[in-house]
């Protein structure tokens, strides 16, 4: 850990451009998080690293901006009746355990296989999980859109019906988002997996939100809002852990927070204007695009580990840049869809308002 502290002493110098860059990335990340409950972190950490911030300090500082952001987002969405605090806390605590376990695995991999091994593990987790979960979420959103039932209440999946029907005495807890009792023996592994993913790829929500929707049976809007509670619990624990080792750069964390609090408020407002399947559209799209971004990096790490022919420096650099570019594109596209949906929702509301006023005038 002494090495880490030494590394932390390497806090970068901030200039106006750096501050503006972090503020903007924070804003876009916050906007997406406010809407789908997570996201942003997968761009923020590499964005900080591209400025010369050491990897661990970037992860720690990202974590420290995440929990206050999630808190504000959760409070805002609670006003709209979208948050299930109990489910968030139950999942959040088990996620915390998942984070600790996931971090331990990361450390062991790093010790045995070095940075390239650890990066390969992270990329492989990205690719496998995002391919399975991302395409499933996107396909589900597409089916809802095609069926024309976007206004109808979301139906429970078969799996969720089954999970809700199993009664294990002494472990049953009522959750308002599910309007049913579910055994905590089901929620604990889901929370744990969310935490493990958060420790590995920084975005636990890519498992947390789909599992709340498809496994437990929560509506999309409530699942994405409740994820903010999980992110808060996980982020707070993680930040304390990193801060105790002196790894958090408070300036970076607070500058990103400055932008992301503008974003998260807007993203949360956006959820009141859209149909529930839009949460799945944005989440699924981001997951699938990020998947391609990470897949591009796999050959780089394989080559660093000597498992394939060594790639030229120019090719490595190009792959890195393209991968980072695609990730930024995923985030910007997500933000664009949120803003567009919100804009359209507001226009419809204004037209209805004008129509009602006209009607009222006639009477």
């Amino acid at each position: 850990m002494h090495d880490m502290v030494k590394e932390a002493a390497n806090f970068i110098n901030l200039d106006v451009m750096t501050v503006a860059y972090l503020f903007i990335v924070g804003f876009v990340g916050g906007l997406v998080s406010g809407f789908i409950g997570s996201g942003g972190a997968f761009v923020l950490t590499p964005a900080m690293m591209s400025l010369g911030v050491p990897g661990l300090v970037a992860v720690a500082s990202n974590m420290c901006h995440k929990f206050p952001k999630a808190l504000i987002g959760a409070l805002k969405r609670a006003k709209y009746g979208q948050v299930d605090v109990k489910l968030g806390i139950v999942l959040g605590i088990s996620a915390e355990a998942g984070v600790l376990y996931g971090a331990q695995i990361q450390e062991n991999i790093k010790k045995n296989f070095g940075d390239a091994g650890s990066n390969l593990y992270v990329s492989a987790a990205f690719v496998v999980i995002l391919a399975i979960v991302g395409s499933f979420v996107l396909l589900d959103a597409w089916k809802t859109y095609k069926s024309g039932n976007t206004n109808e209440e979301e139906k429970l999946t078969k799996l969720a019906r089954r999970v809700q029907s199993i009664n294990i005495p002494g472990t049953m807890v009522y959750f308002k988002s599910l309007n049913a009792k579910v055994s905590v023996l089901f929620t604990i592994p889901l929370g744990f997996a969310t935490g493990m993913l958060a420790a590995t790829i920084a975005v636990g929500g890519f498992i947390g939100v789909p599992s709340m929707i498809y496994v437990l049976g929560a509506p999309s809007l409530m699942a994405s809002a409740t994820e903010l509670v999980i992110a808060f619990v996980m982020g707070l624990g993680g930040s304390l852990k990193y801060a105790m080792h002196g790894l958090v750069d408070i300036r970076l964390a607070m500058i990103i927070l400055a932008g992301s609090l503008f974003g998260i408020q807007l993203g949360a407002i956006g959820t009141t204007y859209v149909k529930p399947h839009m949460i799945k559209v944005v989440m699924g799209l981001i997951m699938v695009i990020v998947l391609f971004s990470r897949a591009l990096m796999v050959p780089v790490y394989l080559s660093q580990l000597g498992l394939i022919q060594t790639l030229s420096d120019a090719l490595t650099k190009t792959l890195k840049n393209v991968s980072f570019g695609i990730m930024i594109f995923a985030l910007v596209l997500g933000a664009f869809i949120v803003l567009k949906a919100m804009w359209q929702g507001r226009r419809v509301e204004r037209l209805q308002h004008a129509g009602a006023a006209l009607e009222h005038g006639k009477v």
Binding site: P68, I72, E153, S239, G246, V248, L261, T271, Y273
Partner: protein, 88 residues
């Protein structure tokens, strides 16, 4: 957006005072943070019990800046849909 804002002001007053107050405090806190970078990094870089101070700082920023950004969008007229899509 202006049109919306106009409609809103008839119903309830916009939080100009709250936004200004929180905005000033927020700017002050950020100025203090950026002007004392070395001092802060030196302390928080020690780790240990300073972690609690660091987390408390993050909470303070989120409270002040969060209130400011909330008021900011309200003043601009960007608010939640009137007919809330509450989930049962």
């Amino acid at each position: 957006m202006k049109k919306d804002g106009g409609e809103m002001s008839e119903k309830k007053k916009k939080p100009y005072a709250g936004m200004t107050l929180m905005g000033i405090i927020s700017v002050g806190m950020y100025a203090a943070l950026l002007l004392n970078q070395d001092f802060l990094n030196n302390y928080f870089g020690h780790g240990g019990a300073y972690a609690f101070l660091l987390v408390a700082t993050a909470f303070a920023f989120s409270f002040v800046h969060g209130s400011f950004t909330g008021h900011f969008w309200t003043v601009l007229g960007v608010e939640a849909a009137k007919k809330k899509r509450e989930v049962k």
